[in-house]
Symmetry: C2
Subunit: 316 residues, 2 copies
Amino acid sequence: MSISEEYINRITSGDKRAVSRAISVVENEDKEKIELLQALYKYTGKAYKIGITGPPGAGKSTITDCLIKNLTKKNFSIGVIAVDPTSPFTGGALLGDRVRMTDATLFENVFIRSMATRGSLGGLSKNVNDVCKILDAAGKDFIIIETVGVGQSELDIAQTADTTVVALVPESGDSVQAMKAGLMEIADIFALNKSDRQGADEIVTSLKNILHLRSPQGDNREIKVLKTIAVKNTGIEELIEEIFDHKKHLSSTGYLDIKRKEHLSNEIIEIVNLNLQKTFWDKENSEILSKNIEKIYSKETDPYTFIQSLNSNINL
Amino acid sequence: MSISEEYINRITSGDKRAVSRAISVVENEDKEKIELLQALYKYTGKAYKIGITGPPGAGKSTITDCLIKNLTKKNFSIGVIAVDPTSPFTGGALLGDRVRMTDATLFENVFIRSMATRGSLGGLSKNVNDVCKILDAAGKDFIIIETVGVGQSELDIAQTADTTVVALVPESGDSVQAMKAGLMEIADIFALNKSDRQGADEIVTSLKNILHLRSPQGDNREIKVLKTIAVKNTGIEELIEEIFDHKKHLSSTGYLDIKRKEHLSNEIIEIVNLNLQKTFWDKENSEILSKNIEKIYSKETDPYTFIQSLNSNINL
C-alpha cells in the first residue's frame, strides 16, 4: 500500500500541501491514483458543489471571485476548480482571468485549482469529478466549479454540480440563443451579470417568459433569474441566498440524493468507457490502424470491414 | 443482402428520395445501416466539405444560405447538414432558422438535412460523418456542415470538414474570448459577419494580430479574416473565393490527403469506442449498475471496487 494512513489524514484534515499533491496524482494519472480515490471515497459527500457556467465574457470568473469572498466571510471553507481549455495555440491554459483571484487565495479557507481540459473525449468531467472528491474529502463546505471556455465542458458541469448557475450578460443575445446553447436545460439559477448595461431588463423578462414554458425540472422548482453586477459585488448576496435556497429545496425533497446518485452512475459509466477505449487502443491496435489507414483511404477496404477485422466481437 | 444494387444506383445518381431514405437509415440506426455504408464507401471522397461554426447569433445559418445560393449559381450541387442541438426543453430540434432556407431548397441541386445532436457522447460527429458519406456518394460537389448550437459540436466540425469557416460578429467579444472558445485552433478562415456593426474593424485587427502569434497549422497557410454581411450577401463571393483557395492549397500541398486520413482514422476510433460502450453497457451490466448504485452511494463500496467487480479486465 503506497498511500499511507497519515497521508490520508493530512488530506482529510485539509492540509493544503497534501491536497495539492493529491490533485496532482489525479491529474497526472499517477499509479496510486485509484488507491488514493478509493481511500478518500468514504470521506466524500459532505461538500456542496456549485457550478458556474455561461458564454465567454459573461463574467464567470468575477462571479466566482465574489462567491469566494462572500462565502468565506460567512466562515465557509471553499474549494474552487477553474476549468480552462488547453489551447494548442498558446500551449497551455489561459490563466489571465485567474490572476485577479490572487487576493482571494489570501484567505485561509480557500483552495483554488485551475484544470486544463486537454480536449480529450470525456476526460474533462472525469478529472473534475476526481478533484471534487479530493476537495470534498478535505472538508470543503462548498466546491465551486467554473468553466472558462465554451464547449461541452459548459454542459458537463451540470453532471457534477448540485446547483448550476448560468451566467449571462445583456449582450449574450436574446433568450433563443440561450436555448440553442443548451444552457436553458442545465440552469438551476440564472445570473444576469453586468445587469447595469442596456437591455438587461428585456433579457430578464424574456428569460422569465421562456422559463414559464419550460417543463419542470426533476426538482420541480422555479428557476429564478437574478441580476448581478459582479465587479461591484452587487446581487451576489442574493445569488448566495438563492443557492442556499436551492440547496435546502433539494435536501428537503430528497432530490439531492436522487441527483447525486444519477451523477454517480454517469461517472461510473464514464470511467468504464474511458477504460474500455484505453484498453482497446493499446499499442497493437493503434499500430494496426495506422498501418491500414492508407488501404482504407484508398478504398481497398472500408472502415467497417476493417473494424471487424480488428475484433470480431465488435457488433457494428 | 437487403441493400439492392438498384437502390445504391439511385443514391449514387443523386435521387433525392433514395438519398433521404438512406439518411434516415443511418439516423435511425436501422439494421441495414452498416451494409449501406459499406456499399457506398467506394463512391465517397469526391465531395468537398465546408464546416460553418461559431458562437450563437453569428449568423451561421444566413452565411450557409448565401453559400448555397452563390454556389448553386456556379452550377455546383450542394448537400447541407444543419446540426441542431436537440433540446430536452423544446423536445426537438430548433428549426426556426431553417425556415428561411425554404427558398434555397427550391434549387434543384440542393439537399438540406437537419440533424439533432441528441447530446450523446460522440454520437454527433459519427452521424454527421455517415450522412456526409451518403451525400458524397450521391455526387454532391460540396457539403456544407453547419452547427447551430454551442458546444462540442462546434469543435467537432473541424474533425470532419476540409475547410472550417468560423463566423464571428463584432459583439462576439474580444479576440481573447474567441481563443478561449477553442475556435481559434479550428478556423481555416474567419468570417466576421454583420461587419457593418460598430467595432468590426477593431475585431478584425485584433484577430489578425493574434493570428500572427499563432503557430502555423499543419497546412501552413495564412488564416484570412474576411468581412461579411450575410443578410445582404456582402462578402460572400470573397468568402467562396477564399474557400476555393484553401481547397486548392490543400490539394496542391498534399495536405488534403493527410487531413482526410487523419479524420478517417479518428472516425474509425470513434466508431470502435461507441461500439465498445454499447457492448459493455448491455442490459446485464446496466442492471447490475442500477442495482448497486445505492450501495456505492451509501459508501458500502466505492466506484472503483465496483467497476472491477463488473469486469476484472478493466485496468483502472
